[in-house]
């Protein structure tokens, strides 16, 4: 396990990014994954529908095929489907935990967490032994938005923790996608609200808008010498 300042992991931060960035993160696993390709979060409900799980799998497969690192929160439902699919498809995945690295929540994912620690990357902003509180999870979601170049919300209720991540992505100016199936759910109010503030509707039949916004690898360095 290593303790790092967040900028050591994702590079220097601007003032907007610093606002909700944790001072330190604790990581275990392959740190080089942070430089292996664009990072996209797939997030959503713990109590996901079958359609939601299918969509999470479809997205993770498509992202792995493009060399994208799948980021998620190791929660049950959408998150677990995203991590497991990335592994199954031979891709790379990063888990951002709402617990310290020495705790697993949910307990059923302990084997998955172990595998991610060995072959992929697990990140937590919470020091070891720190008791897990409800407030940790929204904090984790904001950190996940910061670590990811792009976020996709696959499925979420009006009270889901994934909404914290969506709003944070919008605050940071990062692309936020909401699956069309969620937007079409008339019972939900949050998708329409987030669209007003810049979220993009994504159809699983056309992922081009998602791939269009993924960064190329060494652009920052190139840009520094562009002038």
């Amino acid at each position: 396990m290593e303790r790092l300042m967040l900028n050591e992991l994702i590079g220097p931060l601007n003032d907007i990014e610093k606002k909700s960035a944790p001072p330190y993160v604790y990581i275990e696993g392959n740190r080089n994954l942070m430089f292996d390709g664009p990072r996209v979060s797939i997030v959503g409900s713990r109590k996901a529908s079958l359609v939601g799980i299918d969509n999470s799998i479809l997205l993770a497969k498509a992202l792995v095929k493009k060399g994208v690192i799948v980021v998620s929160g190791l929660a049950e439902g959408i998150d677990t489907a995203a991590h497991k699919t990335a592994i199954k498809e031979g891709g790379k995945t990063i888990a951002v935990l709402g617990t310290p690295l020495d705790t697993c929540y949910p307990a059923e994912n302990s084997k998955l967490q172990e595998e991610l620690t060995k072959k992929h990357l697990v990140i937590s902003q919470f020091p070891l032994k720190l008791p897990t509180q409800r407030g940790n999870f929204p904090m984790r979601n904001r950190t996940m938005a910061l670590i990811s170049h792009t976020t996709i919300i696959v499925e979420a209720s009006d009270t889901s923790g994934s909404l914290h991540q969506g709003w944070e992505a919008l605050r940071l100016g990062r692309p936020l996608f909401i699956l069309e199936s969620v937007v079409n759910n008339k019972k939900l109010t949050w998708p329409k609200e987030m669209i007003k503030y810049g979220a993009i509707v994504l159809s699983t039949k056309n992922l081009k808008p998602l791939f269009d916004v993924l960064p190329t690898s060494d652009i920052l360095v190139n840009l520094d010498v562009a002038f």
């Binding site: 907007i16 606002k19 100016g173 503030y197 810049g198 840009l223 520094d224």
Partner: protein, 209 residues
């Protein structure tokens, strides 16, 4: 009645269809810190513009202590604390005594993002005009320069400029953008200072520049 034309200046040029430019625009849209220099891209652009264009007669009319720099609203609505790149650019120009930030425009109704829409579905100048308001203020600027990160066709700038002309009829209004987009696939240079006019088409529905 929409303004029929608007003078604008641009510092950089990019080609949206070229893969190597994709990350450049995202870096700007997120005001990322450039690792080699340790400053944000807005800060870097402002410094470069100050250094390279302040003595260029073609650009002298865009900046100065008497110029009010008006950030162009995003296509979506904004909440306090959200990243607003146009305002970040205006702030950085202001820090270098190139004008003062005058945050007087607000988007009241979200419009489709031009970069995500088919050309025929992109918002027209009138859509921008109808979705933006001038906030109440006591200032009476005489020289206004709209500041934006990227210009594609100029529809947003023309809609904003029309609103400003109504509110401040005696003010001269121009625009300065960090980056203009270009469709020429053979274009290679990024730095390419340029001035031109955005003109409203005869049917009031589109713009040319």
């Amino acid at each position: 009645m929409l303004l029929s034309n608007l003078k604008f200046g641009a510092f950089l040029t990019y080609v949206p269809k070229k893969e190597e430019y994709k990350g450049f625009i995202q870096t700007l849209k997120q005001d990322k810190v450039l690792p080699n220099s340790g400053i944000t891209i807005c800060e870097r652009i402002a410094k470069e513009v100050k250094e390279k264009l302040s003595n260029n007669p073609k650009f002298s009319e865009f900046f100065g202590s008497d110029v009010y720099l008006v950030p162009v609203p995003k296509s979506s609505l904004m909440k306090p604390g959200m990243l607003w790149v146009s305002k970040r650019l205006a702030e950085e120009f202001s820090k270098l005594d190139m004008g003062k930030v005058f945050d007087c425009l607000e988007r009241k109704i979200q419009v489709t993002k031009s970069s995500l829409a088919e050309p025929k579905n992109r918002p027209k100048p009138i859509d921008h005009y109808n979705s933006i308001i001038v906030k109440k203020c006591l200032e009476e600027p005489k020289k206004i320069v709209l500041i934006d990160d990227v210009i594609t066709r100029g529809a947003t700038l023309l809609g904003c400029a029309t609103r400003l002309k109504e509110a401040f009829p005696d003010a001269s209004i121009k625009a300065f953008v960090a980056v203009q987009s270009m469709n020429d696939k053979n274009f290679k240079k990024i730095e390419d200072p340029y001035t031109s006019y955005i003109t409203l088409s005869n049917d009031n529905c589109s713009t040319n520049r």
